[in-house]
Structure formats: C-alpha cells, structure tokens
Amino acid sequence: MLRFLGLVALGALIGGLAALAAVGFVAAVLWLNDLLLVSPRGRMMFAHPEALAIATVLVPTLGGLVVGLLHRATPERRPHTPADVIAAVQTRRGRLPVRAGVLSALSGLVSLGAGASVGQYGPLVHLGASLGSWGARLLRLDRSDDNITIACGVAAAIATAFNAPLAGIVFAHEVVLRHYALRAFAPVAAAAIVGHVIATNVLSRGALFHVADTVLPRPWEFAVFVLIGGLGALVAGAYMRSILGVGRLAERLPFSPSLRPAIAGALLGVTALWVPDILGMGQETLRFATIAGAFGGLELLVVLGLKLAATALCLGMGFGGGVFSPALVIGTLFGALCGTLVGGLGGAQDTFVFYAICGMVAVTAPVIGAPLTSLLIVFELTGNYALTTAALASVTLASPIAAQLFGRSLFDIQLAKRGLDLSAGRSRAVLQDARLHDLLSHDCVTLPPDQCVSEAVTRLSRSGHGEAHLVDAQGRYRSSVTLADLEAMREDGDGQRPVEECPSTPRPVLGPQASVWEAMRHLQEVTGEAIAVVDEAADGVFLGVVYETSIARAFLQHSDALRREEYGAG
C-alpha cells in the first residue's frame, strides 16, 4: 500500500517535471519562431521584405544543418520519437537512454524553432517519457514501475501542451501502455492533473483551440461526417506513406545523412516564399481552416498538398519532430475542403467548423493510432460537446479503415520496419524482445563426428544426457544425435562406426540473437531435451544449448510479469 502511494507521489512529481519541461519547450519554440521570423507575427513585425525573403530560405536551411550535426551524436543517427517510447514499454525494456533523450529534445527544438514543418507533441511526449524513465532509474525501480513512470511523463506532457488532462491519461494508456491497469492509472492520472494545474494556473491558459458555441448539425450531416472519416483514413494513409517513402528515397540520395535536413530546409524555405502557410506548426492555418471563406476551394487543395509534401520532406529527410501537429493541419484543411464542397452543393455554411473538425480527427486518429485520445483532444481543445459528437461519427470509420489498409499507427509501421511487430499484442512483443543468451547452457555433450558409436554411448550414459551434439575440429556444429539412435546402431553391430553416420532427423538450430518467442515456435517441431545454439554468422560455430525446460520457464516468467503489470491492482 505504502509503496503504491509512493508510486502515485512519484507520478505526480514526474508529472510536474515533465509539465515544466513541456512549458519551457513550448515557450522556447515560440520565442525562436518570433526571433527567427518563422511565426506570422514575427514576420509581420519585421519591415524589410528582402531580408525577410532571405531569412525564409536561410533559417530552415541552417536549422537543418544544426539538426544534422546533432543527430551525428546519437547512436542511431536519428532523433528518437514516441515510437521508441512505445517499443521500450511494449517490450518491458524501459530505460530510455539519457543521451538520445536530450539530443532528440534539442533536435526537435531546433527543427521547430527554425520553422520545419513538423509537430511539437512528438518531442514533448518523448521528453516526458525520458524524464519518467530517468526518475525510475534514479530510484532503482523495476521494469514495471519504469513503464508506469514513462506513462506518467507522457500523460503530463500531453496534459500540459494541450491543456487536456483527460486526453493525456487516455493517450498514455491507448498509445504507450496499451493495457489498462489500476496500478498504472493512479500515478498517470496524478501526473496529468499536475500538468493540467501547471498549464491552467501558472500559464493561466484556457482551452487552446476554443470554438465558440455553434449551431447543431442537421441529422443528415452526421452521415457526411462518417463519410469524411472514411476518406480521411485515406488521407492519413497518404500522409504516412509519404513520410516513409521520402525516408526510403533519402537513403538513396548521394548526400551524407547529416546534410539531408539542410536540403529539406532549403526546399521548404523556397516553397514558403510563395506559400508561407507551410512553415512551422501552422497554428494560424489551422484556425483559418475552421473559418468558412478564409480559403478558396482550390487554395485549400494546394495548401493541403503542399503541407503534406512539406511534412513528408522534413520528417523523411531527418528533421526532428512529431507527426501530430502537421496531421492536425492537414486534416483540418481536408475537412474544410469537404465542407466547402458540401456548401457548394447547397449544404449549410453555418456548420462549416464541424466539417473542419471531422477532417481533423479523421486524419490524426489513424496517424497516432488513438481514436479515443483524438476525440478527447477535440473535446478539451475546443471545449465544445457538439463538435465532439460529430468527431465521434467521423472517427468511427477512420481508425478501422486506416488500420486495415495501412497499420495501427505510423509508430507501429515504423517499429515493424525495425523488426518489432506489435500487431499481435504485447505478450508477443515481450517474448520477441527477450533474448535467449541468458538461457544458454554449456552443460551438454559434444562429440567429434569421427568418434565411434560405442564410445559415444558410454559417454552419454555417464553424463546423464539423452542426446549429444556433433561438433567438428573447427568448433562447427554438424547435427544432433539421440542416445536411442546410437544404442540402436550399436545393437545392429555398428558400434565401431563413426557417430556422424548415425541417422538423425534434421533439427532446427537457434542463432545467438534469437528470441524466446522464436525458441517457443521451434519447440513445436522438436522432440528432444535442448536446442543447439549456433552462430551462423561465424561459419556455424556451436555456442551451447538451450534446454526446453528453460525456454518454458522463461515463457512463464515473462507471461507472469506481464500479467502482474497489467492486472495487478497495486
């Protein structure tokens, strides 16, 4: 009980730290945007058009250069994102690295500050998660508690940045933890509340994207909202595919990876000379897209396409930053386009904002794989219940269609490309991530292939093992033989022949990096006491064996730990 209360207090503490970090991050981005002539306000207050044009191209380019240099210092040569947080929690690895955390936050700050078309919530989520994980490590807490503190940091970051505590709590559960446990709920809620209090009282901020009272949509319009959801899933798919596609293309470019963001920055800056709407997070564009008549129909299409392309370019070429804010803008523009079309066909103009918000949810929910969070964000951001119900209609189709066609979220797609498949749930992810080398045993019988059968039988009987592994003079694994087969050969009078002539059924072997999951799969095909571990990369060198019993024990241990984490009450 006391320990649980301590965890809740720790959650609140981490929430406070993450909230302050989020506040500082957001303020620094705004300050940089004003200073570097990225924000419309900063640009408007700067009276020299020629210098402004030069800055528009130069700032993202130099920002890209700095980002590229920052990434050279991370082991993976890329900024860490919420996907890394999800992977750490889903595999119960936890322990987010300090260095990559700091560098990723810096990279996000520079990218956003210099006007790259990226989001700020990704870096904030990662920063919050890192703070949580560092806290758990400082206090030497176990992996389950590490996961909870990570979730606390995430919830507080979202609660503060959006001023949306409910969305923060649900996001931490829906996207990061992916299970619901009371043991995790209380600390996460505490963190979100602290974040909310800091956002409202210290910053004295109200709803971030307030939408005034609106008229209620007509019944038939809800059918249109559902349809917008379906189409929005396709826009979300195009958005995710573009980001990944540019990433693949970038690999083939003849430039060093550190230079790629600078090239993207230069392209972005030149385009922004004509369409400044694509610079930065695009909060002004977001607002305009909810106002009927602010954009022409064709203009909406152009800005939508350019914003999508700019974001894919920036993220694919290696700027640090999130995918959420651009998705908000793209989705809202898409919704506004639908609203303009419906208006053009004789529909009502007084419900225009509903279309914009439906588009927004339809695109963002599939991208982050979080329909509930998106709904709550709409509710808490706009403070408008009627809008939330319309968004619900839209998200109904958007999330499942996108999940069927593209994947659960952009994070899941990225992780799958890195070899972590989360589509079959957490238990599989944990087992896939658990490595075999801890289970490796050298307590086994190895025989040279030319040893005679009768000597082999004697050695095996004395050692108390039922099978032996044939390893040649170079240490390479050949095959495995059972005591029963050897005995049968001796009975047949072949006792003086070499063991390599003993018939044996071909058996699978495991690599040194194999996971518990892989071993469990092989167990279905193997009858024997252990599976040989062979390093295929080093010309088939025999490393030892893994006993079936230890695989089963490892499986049970991991399953138990998961069960305790997910169903434990405290």
Partner: protein
C-alpha cells in the same frame, strides 16, 4: 497647425523671460541686500499639454490641470490633436517643439520612442501609493514603457441607439456586422485598429489569436472583407464625431471611446447604450517629447497627475480605468450626477469579461504598413 504656430510664438516669448529675470535679479541684488525672491521668478512659464480635446479635456482640466496650477502656480495651456506622430516628427526634426507633455496612446508612444522622438522616463518618477506600495507593484503590468507611463486605460467600444432595434438589443460584437438583425447605418473610425479586431472576432476567432491571424495576408483580407460587407458605413476621425452622428440619427451603431459615449449619455442625455462585448482596451500614457521647452515642469506635472488621488479624481469625471490599483479601488461616484463610476470604467470585471487588450507592440511596428493596406482597400 495654427495651434502649433501659436505655441511657437509663446515658446519664443518664454525663452526670453529667464534672461530678463537674471538681469533684473543682478541689478536688485547689487542695489538692495534685503531682497526676497522676485515675483518674476516665482511666476513660472506655462506648461503646454497636448491632449485629445472634448469631454476628455474638460475632465482633465478639472481633475488635473486646475489643481496643478493651484498647487504649483504653473499655468497649463492645452493644445488639441487627434493622435498621429507626423506633427511631432516635424517638430522634433526642426528642434522646435511647442509641447511639454503629450497625452499619447501607448502604441504611438512605443513607435515614437523607437524613433527617438521622446525623452526616456523611469518608474522612479512617479510617487508611491498612499500606503507606501512602490509604483512597480501598484501600476498595471506594462504601464511603464521606456518613454511612456500609462495613466489610464480607455476602451474603444460600440454604442447603439436604444430606439433603433425595437424588441432586441445587440449583445455580441458580431452584431455590429449583422445588418439583417440589426439594420441601419454604422460609423467606424477611419483606422485599421479596432476595426480589424472586431471583424475577426465576428468570425468566432478567440481574442488570444487576433494578432497572430492579423499578421497574415489571409487574416487581413478576411477582416477587410467583413468590414467591406457593411452597408451605409461612415468613417469618423475626431473622437466626438460618433456621438454626434448617433445623436443626429445619422447612424444607429458607432464605434467610439467609452468616455465620450459616457459623456453623451450622462451629461447630454443621449439615448444610447454601450456594447461592452469585444471592447478594445488601450493604455493612455504621458510622454515628454524630445526638446520640450520645460521638461522639469513636465516631470513635476507627470508626478502630480499620476498620484493615486488625482487618478481616482479623474475617474470621477470621465470613466477611464486608472492605471494604479490603489486608485482603481478609490473610484467612486460621478462628480456632477452621483452615478457609480465603477460600472462605467472599462476595467470593471463585468465590462472586461470579453475585452481585447490592444497589442501595442504589434501596432507600433506595423501601424504604417497595415494602415496603408487598409486605406488602399477602402479607396
């Protein structure tokens, strides 16, 4: 212009005075040992204040200028202007500034300060509150600029004729643009300021986002489009025009300064009502122009006029919110009619619920470009 010339002549005359006094003092000092300070030295030159005229000037006259002359013996002359920096710019360039003190909006003060037209001022110039609270804590946030000290907060609001819309009354600033429900001609000030803000508010834009959106071409065009959509629109320039237009029935809704509307309502019985929704609050400041003829006397006046007592007194004549919290607490009833002034000052919590605070920094740097764009659009 005529006014400036007159002041110039007066300034010439004043410059001669101290020399004469010196000669006389020398002669008298040589002649008579038991001599008191001379009347010539004791009656100092008059202070010239540039202010906005009308009801506002009358209130300043009674609450500030007359008591100042009574206390110090320094007479105060008042010149009148409608805002703008052109005349000041010319006067400073010619090193011939006829004014000692200017009552200026904060945004213009910021721009003028950046151009080097004003003397720097420090918060140590003003007196602490009666209970000893230092000025930095007593004044509103942002009251002390580099060259300007806020003395009151006024608001530009919409007023409408009570008899214009039988059975309904405007409650939101969007109603200014709704000529279907509230038919009739409007009068607005011939400047982008306030009008652009109201136009965007009418689209449902939250007040926190106004200046960010107005910083884009898209936002400006959107606002101008809404303004251009108004039928029978009259533009006004001088602050007393809107209440005159309302009184004559030329328009049914007009923008204007809340103090002027109050004056028309209370002192002249005009049947109008103020719509507080979307009021745009602005700081009104005292500044001392560079090359002012009597900067020392101007500083003395500034200290006098910004005391808690004088600020509270001014609010008994005209409903502008005092910039000192100690003075805001002392605001009482109207001097002549006994009306509770607290309900009429723009900073009262009931009136300020949906108030917009003008982004003076933004205007200081964009005024001319936005102004050009605005006038180009409505040419």
């Amino acid at each position: 212009m005529r006014c400036a010339e007159k002041n110039m002549v007066r300034a010439e005359r004043r410059r001669g005075a101290p020399v004469l006094a010196w000669v006389m003092a020398l002669v008298l000092a040589m002649g008579m040992a038991l001599c008191r300070p001379l009347p010539a030295a004791a009656s100092p030159a008059a202070l010239t204040v540039l202010s906005w005229g009308g009801a506002y000037e009358r209130a300043q006259q009674r609450a500030l200028f007359e008591p100042f002359t009574e206390t110090t013996g320094i007479p105060v002359n008042v010149a009148r202007y409608n805002g703008g920096l052109a005349a000041l710019r010319r006067a400073v360039a010619e090193q011939d500034v006829p004014w000692d003190l200017i009552d200026m909006t904060r945004s213009e003060a910021m721009a003028a300060c950046a151009e080097g037209l004003l003397e720097p001022l420090s918060s140590s110039l003003v007196a602490p509150a009666p209970d000893g609270t230092p000025p930095d804590e007593d004044f509103l946030p942002g009251a002390f600029g580099r060259c300007a000290i806020t003395h009151s907060v006024f608001a530009t609001v919409v007023a409408y004729r009570r008899d214009a819309f039988p059975g309904r009354r405007p409650t939101s600033i969007a109603d200014l643009f709704d000529q279907r429900r509230f038919p009739g001609p409007r009068a607005l000030q011939d400047t982008p300021a306030v009008n652009l803000e109201w136009a965007l508010l009418a689209y449902g834009v939250p007040r926190e986002e106004l200046y960010r959106l107005l910083s884009t071409r898209r936002g400006l065009n959107l606002a101008l489009k809404r303004l251009a959509g108004l039928e029978d629109l009259r533009w006004w320039q001088a602050g007393d025009t809107p209440s005159r237009l309302l009184a004559e029935g030329e328009v049914v809704m007009a923008s204007g300064y809340n103090g002027r509307f109050f004056d028309a309502m209370v002192n002249r019985g005009l049947p109008i009502e103020i719509l507080w929704d979307g009021q745009v609050q602005e700081h009104e400041t005292w500044v001392i122009p560079r090359h002012a003829p009597h900067p020392e006397a101007a500083r003395r006046f500034l200290r006098f006029a910004t005391t808690t007592e004088r600020q509270a007194e001014l609010a008994r004549y005209i409903p502008y919110g005092p910039s000192r919290q100690s003075a805001a607490r002392q605001v009482s009833t109207h001097h002549d009619t006994g009306i509770d002034m607290r309900l009429h000052i723009p900073t009262h919590p009931l009136n300020a619920e949906r108030a917009v605070t003008r982004d003076d920094d933004w205007y200081a740097r964009t005024q001319e470009r936005v102004g050009e764009y605005f006038h180009e659009y409505f040419r």
